[in-house]
């Protein structure tokens, strides 16, 4: 059964159904909601089938489908390894939550809204499953259109500015990558990602190709200093839009690095780690400080996303098993945690229609269940042991320490600052007393809201207590990437905590640094 094709095409069909439903506006909206929820649940079921059917010790890429549909430019070529699998599972897990979160808060043009989300889902799965470089690009860029509409039509006050900024920023980043892809395909003579990942490009060319891909992925990630579209987009997007943006779209950058930049340009990656580390270090400290002074909840979480993504880039460019694995777990963990935090903001936004932190307070009194769940997600964001955040941060720092002590030092500082702004947020929202009567009398979570948040909370704990279920499928894929990087000459970094330059180091082979694997 071509399960990946079904997963990609099913939401498209459902989206068409949603916008062509008969009936008057209210019942049309109700039907569209049901169609969307049913489709996303079915997609989740298919995702579980994918996960259980994936053999971690089997072929590197499974569920492969290949049809020469669009010759000569590209082929319909799909397949997943462990990394793609986990990200697809994350996407299909978050989608039903998004639909449920918009159940009552979106009341205008519901069929179109649901259709846009279903298209998003299809494009996200396609991005992770594509094995043809241009098919990847197609899905990667295609996601801009529904997201542009989601922010622009259903967003907040400055939605138009935010939607333009989002669209043009990411498009500009991507076209440079497209030029690089065209160049690479011209040299390798194949559009197959597998072939390209084993082609050794000229070292000089690798440098430019790396930068072209970097332009795209750094914007998607987003890395400092090209992160500025993210707070705007998050603040203006509807809740579910923020969840998708933080939960899945930001992962496209990290996925791109691990799928393209590292294996295709190993020499350039090893030479340019200083660039990535520098940007990550600045990002984690700078955005954490910015997050400390935010008055808007969504903006605060958006800045915290930038900081967490800096961990992902730092971990990836540690270029060793722990670092890359940590970055992958970080992407999954952040997808769950930041998605949940945005959903939490959505819950109280639906009640009070403001995101200003100062308007809230004392929620632990009148919304105890909400306060409990918010605390769990805050702790996960901070990286408390037994939550998913701890596993990922620990692995990243472990990998990073082998490469650069300085980078580790600054990233750890970021963790401390992260704890500061998240706890400060929690303190202001959950404790004390609220400014207004309306905030003091807000009702606690409804059944629907619990149904959204509790599964995510369980997943966060699962990933924190037994991360192996998520790590094991990814291990062969990570090992393959580390294999490609083996023996490349690393850029000279001040490795020790001294300012004297160290000798050039060579990346350790994959098996040499296996020992401190279990982290709990």
């Amino acid at each position: 059964m071509p399960i990946l094709s079904i997963m990609i095409l099913l939401p498209v069909v459902a989206a068409l159904v949603a916008v062509t439903l008969p009936g008057e506006a209210p019942e049309q909206a109700a039907r569209a909601r049901i169609v969307a929820l049913a489709t996303t649940l079915l997609e989740f079921a298919l995702g579980v089938v994918l996960w259980t059917g994936f053999d971690a010790s089997g072929a590197p890429f499974q569920f492969v489908e290949k049809l020469p549909l669009f010759a000569p430019y590209l082929a319909w070529h799909l397949g997943i390894d462990g990394i793609a699998l986990m990200l697809i599972v994350l996407s299909v897990f978050l989608m039903p939550m998004c639909i449920l979160a918009s159940w009552t808060s979106i009341s205008k043009r519901v069929p179109e809204y649901m259709a846009a989300f279903l298209l998003m889902e299809s494009l996200m799965i396609g991005t992770f499953a594509a094995r043809d470089i241009f098919l990847f690009y197609l899905f990667f860029e295609g996601g801009l259109i529904p997201m542009f509409l989601i922010i622009g039509v259903w967003g907040g006050a400055r939605r138009i500015y935010a939607s333009y900024k989002f669209f043009l920023y990411t498009l500009l980043g991507s076209v440079l990558m497209l030029v690089a892809m065209l160049y690479m395909v011209g040299i390798a003579g194949s559009t197959d990602i597998g072939v390209l990942a084993t082609t050794d490009f000229d070292k000089g060319a690798q440098f430019w190709l790396f930068l072209a891909f970097f332009a795209s992925f750094a914007v998607k990630m987003p890395m400092w200093p090209v992160h500025t579209w993210l707070p705007d987009a998050h603040v203006e997007a509807p809740t579910a839009g923020s969840v998708i943006l933080a939960g899945v779209l930001l992962k496209l950058g990290g996925y791109g690095f691990v799928r393209f930049s590292l294996p295709m340009f190993p020499d350039a990656s090893a030479q340019l780690i200083w660039l990535v580390f520098a940007l990550s270090m600045v990002a984690v400290v700078y955005t954490s400080l910015v997050a400390l002074v935010q008055r808007d909840m969504k903006k605060l979480i958006a800045y915290s996303s930038v900081a967490h993504m800096a961990f992902v880039t730092a971990g990836l460019f540690a270029l060793n098993t722990q670092g890359i694995e940590g970055a992958m777990v970080m992407m999954l963990s952040h997808g769950l945690v930041s998605g949940a935090l945005f959903l939490c903001v959505g819950v109280i936004y639906d009640r009070l229609h403001t995101r200003e932190i100062a308007r809230y307070g004392g929620l632990a009194d009148n919304m105890p269940r909400y306060a409990l769940l918010l605390m769990l997600f805050t702790m996960a964001s901070v990286g408390l042991p037994a939550t998913s955040g701890f596993v990922s941060e620990f692995l990243v720092l472990l990998g990073l320490y082998q490469v650069s002590t300085w980078a580790t030092f600054w990233m750890t500082t970021g963790i401390i600052l992260g704890a500061a702004y998240m706890l400060y947020l929690y303190w202001r929202v959950a404790f004390g007393t609220a400014a207004g009567e309306d905030a003091r009398t807000m009702p606690d979570l409804s059944g629907r809201e619990l149904a959204i948040l509790v599964p995510i909370a369980l997943a966060v704990l699962w990933m924190g207590i037994y991360p192996a279920s998520f790590q094991v499928p990814m291990k062969p894929a990570v090992a393959a990437v580390v294999d490609r990087l083996k023996g490349r000459e690393l850029a000279t970094l001040p490795t020790e905590m001294s300012l004297t330059p160290a000798l050039p180091t060579v990346i350790a082979p994959a098996h040499a640094a296996e020992a401190p694997e279990r982290t709990h």
């Binding site: 916008v19 549909l69 669009f70 010759a71 000569p72 430019y73 241009f134 690009y137 197609l138 899905f139 860029e141 295609g142 801009l144 259109i145 542009f148 509409l149 622009g152 039509v153 939605r159 138009i160 939607s163 333009y164 669209f167 043009l168 498009l171 500009l172 076209v175 440079l176 497209l178 030029v179 065209l182 160049y183 395909v185 011209g186």
Partner: protein, 484 residues
């Protein structure tokens, strides 16, 4: 068979169109005048369809006719299919517009038939004189069409402006032709090609002639810096005429340019490549930047067509069969996108019955006519070149060819201008989807036009990607025929 008769038989579309246009003129004059507009349009579409059918049994290889003045090959056939389809669509899309306007004159389809005939001759030209005859036939019909609303000052101005500048361009072109004839001793493409490919130094006169010819042709395809007439003429001309101008004549003139440069001046590729590079970069850049400030849809689409010609020229700048293949693919998709956009605009009228021309008139269209808005959104995202819509792939193809030819900076410039251009295409979507309905828009529901919009929108949607393989294969054969 008598060589003349054989030549006439070979020039099937031209013969059908000549006879058909004269018949249509007679039918219109003696068969009801302006009231006959509607059925005369269907007659004209039928004639175009028959002309298209004669292409089916064209000889596969390259065949000369009329003593080498005329050529048929896969290249001319490919372009003729595009031209005939675009012309037929241009006839049909005018029906609701002309019925509403006071100037519903029967000459409209007849003039289009004559212009189509001129375009068919253009793409089959194998001699500088055939080229000129075809170009002038097409242009003269176009001048009249631009001034079709003869009672309206704006339309007359557009016609006059187009005529004066067009005549100037034709003069420049003709001057170039005389120079080439003087220094090469022939006007036939094959002879010029042989002479240039031969040994010995080339005369500077031929280079001058080439530059003049290229300047004249650049005017016809409205490549920067010969584009000045385009926005004014599009704005002044009746909307269906602007739609026509942006489609078939562009394809014909660009096809002709390619044949002149590759077929006749192929050995001078080094010389013309630099000119084409400049035209391409300037068109992409100006088309992208100048459109940002526009408030009139027709002017916007005029700048959009300038930018698109710039993108198509990237394929010519590459100068390889792969580049020409990409250019032909680009033209095929571009015609559908631009005609589709004009079709949607033509369906709309303001409350007072006047035609919709301002972008702000589209405000909130997604709530009044969701189908039309969705179609226009597809066209806009497609012209902007956002995957997975079909409009992305021709851009992809031309830049792939450019990179294969070593023109990486050109590809980077092109993609960056496409991002700038995306801004104004997005604005159309923004006005339709994000803004609240403003000026009430009444729209006609013409089943024929509705069907055309549906076909064009489906073609430009991701579903259209399934047509990539056959179109590119046909374009590849056409390009191969040109390089022979």
């Amino acid at each position: 068979m008598n060589p003349t008769l054989a030549s006439i038989a070979l020039a099937g579309p031209e013969t059908v169109l000549t006879a058909g246009s004269l018949t249509a003129l007679m039918l219109g004059t003696f068969g009801g005048g302006d009231k006959a507009l509607r059925w005369l349009t269907f007659v004209a579409v039928t004639i175009v369809a028959i002309a298209g059918l004669t292409l089916i049994d064209d000889p596969v290889g390259r065949t000369l006719a009329f003593d080498g003045l005329y050529v048929t090959d896969a290249y001319s056939s490919f372009l003729k299919v595009l031209i005939l389809a675009a012309s037929a669509a241009s006839m049909l899309l005018a029906l609701p517009y002309l019925a509403g306007a006071k100037t519903g004159r029967f000459e409209y389809p007849v003039l289009l038939l004559l212009a189509t005939l001129g375009m068919c001759i253009m793409v089959s030209a194998n001699d500088l004189l055939t080229l000129y005859v075809g170009l002038e036939l097409q242009s003269l019909a176009a001048y009249v069409l631009a001034a079709f609303h003869r009672g309206e000052a704006r339309s007359s101005e557009a016609g006059l402006k187009y005529f004066v500048l067009g005549a100037l361009a034709s003069g420049i072109l003709l001057y170039g032709v005389t120079l080439v004839y003087g220094f090469a001793g022939s006007t036939e493409f094959d002879s010029i090609h042989r002479l240039l490919a031969g040994p010995g130094p080339r005369s500077l006169g031929i280079l001058f002639g080439l530059v003049f010819i290229l300047a004249g042709l650049a005017f016809k395809i409205s490549a920067v810096p010969f584009h000045m007439w385009t926005p004014d003429v599009y704005e002044g001309a009746p909307t269906p005429v602007a739609a026509f101008f942006s489609a078939a004549p562009k394809a014909a003139a660009l096809g002709l340019t390619v044949r002149v440069l590759v077929g006749a001046f192929g050995p001078m590729q080094f010389d013309w490549q630099q000119i084409v590079l400049f035209l391409s970069v300037a068109s992409m850049g100006l088309g992208a930047v100048a459109a940002i400030g526009q408030t009139n849809i027709k002017r916007l689409l005029a700048y959009s067509s300038i930018a698109n010609i710039g993108f198509a020229l990237v394929g010519l700048a590459a100068g390889t069969p792969q580049g020409i293949e990409a250019l032909l693919f680009y033209l095929a998709v571009y015609l559908a996108m631009t005609l589709g956009s004009f079709l949607v605009v033509l369906q709309l009228r303001r409350e007072d019955g006047s035609a919709v021309e301002l972008m702000s008139d589209l405000a909130g269209l997604s709530r009044v006519r969701p189908g039309l808005a969705a179609a226009l959104a597809v066209f806009m995202f497609s012209i902007a070149g956002i995957p997975p819509l079909l409009g992305f792939w021709p851009k992809f193809a031309v830049f792939q060819a450019a990179i294969a030819a070593g023109l990486v900076p050109l590809a980077i410039i092109g993609f960056v201008t496409s991002v700038i251009a995306a801004f104004y295409y997005l604005r159309v979507v923004k006005i339709m989807y994000f803004d609240d309905p403003g000026v009430a828009v009444a729209s006609t529901r013409d089943p024929i036009n509705g069907g055309l919009i549906l076909v064009a929108a489906t073609f430009c949607s991701p579903l259209g990607m399934l047509t990539i393989t056959p179109i590119v294969a046909a374009a590849g054969r056409a390009a191969a025929a040109l390089f022979g």
